[in-house]
Symmetry: C2
């Protein structure tokens, strides 16, 4: 495996016992092995782990396994166990999304992700996007409430993964997190509210390694937490992780990277330069703000095949009865509704179209995807007019972000040699359909790549390679950020994109629309 | 002041406010000032202090005072305060003795010790010497009891000093401690018991800097604790501090350093080499194990002038009515009792001597120093036969330690170019008397220097100089230790010294004894 050099490692050591001719103290004795066997001159240790050293060394008859981290140039003893436990070396990597939390359980010996778990971020109850989360912190105690919500959910995910794999929570020795700046702040208990107001400054974009227990994460007592560094209040560690994941920063090709998620970050660049911006863009495609939106987990409708008469087939994740609809199917649906003239280019329902699936409520028209009886939730799963409007605003914002970045570099979509789409879609994201609704630009298809959740992938890479974690910092340091709201042309570009696929059809030459 | 470069410092900073053209995060913004104004590239910070940064910076309108430590090559933010508080910069240095705790309150701006406090180590209730303290740890929970006793006493000393000087406890930003290895272990909550059994190995002789709050010390919330490194189980940080205090390690002269205290460490050497040993030697001269022994604090008899007829005058510390007798007066008394033939060379009372001060109890003869009515304690203050035996054993052990070290280097007392005597005596230690009882060797008087408590002095120096704290580590690393009990000749040398001044009077040519 390239770069396999985990930031947390175990090593079995047989330590020469003290004798009258070798009376080094226990800690100095262990440090001597760190130097001789592992090449480290300086190793940090927590006070109380240091305090337990003598007992463990003697109970283990001087045969012990050290677990240590190497982060930001500092080596830290993370655990000391009797005997040889080298084969049991685990940590988790985590994407702390505004909407979704994803956790990989990683075997540090093989570098393999042995299990994975996705959950909603329970902070959603207090606002769907980062702005409303920050506003929620205005009241005394509410930051710690949001903090506790995410910590509890992470603990429950760790617990779930451990149970599934027959591990104990204290066999997990570290947690590497990638999240946007606001989510990372709340995770660590930092007040994020300065990010909301000009000049949009976070408390920090670098997060030192801490004991996981300091923020309430329940793993090994001295296990560590490290968050991937970010760039600014709106370009966070999830983006640095995404770039790390894709190696965009080493690419010879001009690459456009779009993270379709709650915050809709967009990155443009390659090995010589990187620019990035963020807008509220993409959360609808994570299911946010939609009546029956959900993330790509069991029971989500992830693929829809619509017929000309308005009837349809769908597939669900895990082949369960549906309980909602996720990003890939939303793209399928929107594209095909447009294709068959069930909605027009402004996303409005064609009331002329006759289908039992088109209904009308006090809130406006809606389109039924799954009838109540088919579902897990005993309700029709529908796409409402409001949902459609939401998706169109979202895709317009995604498009505008990319367009502004390109404009800032005097480029156009035709200059994009590689287009990377990150996000929590289903497995079957259909590129033609995504282009036909204008979510993606109309460029050569072989330049487009769907990379799924690049944040969790980058966090996992950083966990598995000291060099990659260092690269994440270099990436963060090298990015130039743009404030979309400060670009005079942003609003025009955005407004022009509020059509399917766009007001200017010449930008989407390959897309044919029914008149 | 030479080497004035405290390990904890304050610095007032006016920080450029964030703006749309300067959007660095708060922590990065502060770090930029650390780099530009203070020359530090890397600064550590505790999670929760980092969390409070944004609020303090803004409440202080970006005018703040940083307190930071520089220890073991690492710079750490210790406090952040609104406005300019540079003038209020305090820390304490502490000698953690087996018998006595001494604390200096230090002004970090001037380097001056502004107040000082001495207390008994309350662990004394659980054994007078380090061996009994270690034995006390055998029962579950008793280590934490001993730990808590010393922590509580230190907190009460800090509180006392703060009240005296009109300071708040959270204005104290650090605590530098020097103690023997066992005391330091217990201070930090480390089990010291391995030191008691062959091969006498401690948990550690290096003590990383920790948050003082981690061990329960009540100073500024992120104030630090650092213990001076030691050499081995029986040569601790108090000796490294003592050597630092005396600059023995830089001396051109062969120097013998004797710390007359509970553990009786002896050091021999100079700039090229240093050897050291420790024996249970000297505690009687701190008042330990004596019926009316006490340390050199208010109410201690510290000077005694005996007349030929057995009558006497004494002086007390603070001119208070006496409540006990301290080291300097014990030496005075023993020497004069011997001089006037009231005791013989074996320390036995001369029953022929007629004085109302000589009494007899079930426990043997005793000599009355102060009559009940003169005292604070409504009891005769006496020196018992057991006390005398104790003092003689103690002075023999002190002598034997020095003799063994010299022997190991093929030297004799005549080779000693400088003799430094450290210890908690009174102010008036009388060199002639100390030699006449054989506590000190009979060498040229101008080579002898009493230096008082060199441990607290060394700890204070280390607090006031980054370089000196580093030197303490170099000193600890450079010392070769001897195990007295493993020297075959130790017992003979010790036994020969169980006379006043010695069996071999040729070793004490200047001492004249009444026949």
């Amino acid at each position: 495996m390239p770069n396999f050099n985990p930031v947390i490692r175990k090593r079995y050591l047989e330590i020469p016992q003290p004798s009258l001719s070798d009376t080094l103290g226990d800690w100095q004795r262990l440090l001597r092995e760190f130097k001789n066997k592992l090449g480290y001159n300086e190793v940090g240790v927590d006070l109380s782990l240091l305090g337990s050293l003598g007992r463990i060394l003697r109970e283990g008859n001087w045969k012990v396994t050290v677990t240590f981290s190497e982060i930001d140039g500092q080596v830290q003893l993370v655990n000391l166990e009797k005997g040889n436990t080298e084969t049991k070396a685990y940590a988790v990597a985590c994407d702390i999304g505004t909407t979704t939390l994803v956790m990989n359980l990683v075997d540090l010996n093989t570098g393999k992700v042995i299990d994975s778990k996705t959950s909603y971020n329970p902070q959603r109850a207090h606002g769907e996007d980062v702005t409303s989360r920050m506003m929620h912190c205005d009241k005394q105690g509410d930051l710690s409430q949001l903090h506790q919500l995410v910590i509890d959910e992470l603990n429950s995910m760790i617990d779930h993964l451990c149970r599934s794999q027959g591990l104990k929570q204290d066999e997990i020795n570290g947690l590497i997190c990638a999240g946007n700046t606001i989510m990372t702040h709340i995770l660590l208990g930092f007040d994020p509210r300065t990010i909301r107001k000009e000049p949009y400054v976070p408390l920090t974009t670098f997060y030192p390694a801490f004991l996981a227990s300091e923020i309430g994460i329940k793993i090994s007592p001295y296990g560590i937490t490290k968050c991937i560094p970010g760039v600014s209040g709106y370009i966070g560690g999830d983006i640095a992780a995404g770039i790390l994941s894709t190696r965009l920063n080493e690419s010879e090709k001009i690459t456009l990277f779009i993270d379709i998620g709650t915050n809709g970050e967009t990155v443009l660049g390659g090995k010589d330069w990187i620019v990035a911006c963020s807008g509220s863009a993409g959360s609808a495609f994570e299911g946010c703000g939609l009546e029956f939106g959900m993330n790509a987990t069991s029971g989500a409708i992830e693929k829809i095949i619509l017929k000309e008469n308005g009837e349809l087939n769908y597939e669900t994740l895990g082949n369960k009865s549906p309980k909602g609809i996720c990003g890939s199917a939303l793209i399928d649906l929107l594209a095909q509704l447009l294709e068959f003239g069930i909605i027009n280019r402004q996303g409005k329902i064609n009331t002329q179209f006759k289908s039992s699936r088109i209904g009308k409520t006090a809130m406006g028209f809606e389109f039924v995807i799954a009838w109540s009886a088919e579902t897990q939730i005993n309700k029709d799963i529908v796409l409402t007019q409001a949902d459609t409007d939401n998706l169109i605003r979202d895709k317009a914002a995604v498009y505008a972000g990319s367009a502004i970045l390109l404009k800032s570099m005097q480029m156009e979509f035709s200059n994009v040699e590689k287009l990377l789409i990150a996000g929590n879609f289903g497995r079957h994201l259909d590129v033609e359909k995504a282009i036909s609704i204008g979510l993606l630009p109309d460029i050569e298809r072989n330049r487009i790549e769907f990379i799924g959740n690049s944040s969790i992938d980058g966090a996992t890479k950083a966990l598995l390679s000291i060099e990659d974690l260092e690269k994440a910092q270099q990436i963060a340091d090298s990015i130039t950020t743009f404030e979309l709201t400060r670009e005079p042309s942003y609003y025009d570009i955005y407004t022009s994109a509020l059509f399917l696929p766009h007001t200017d059809m010449s930008l989407f030459p390959s897309v044919k629309i029914q008149k």
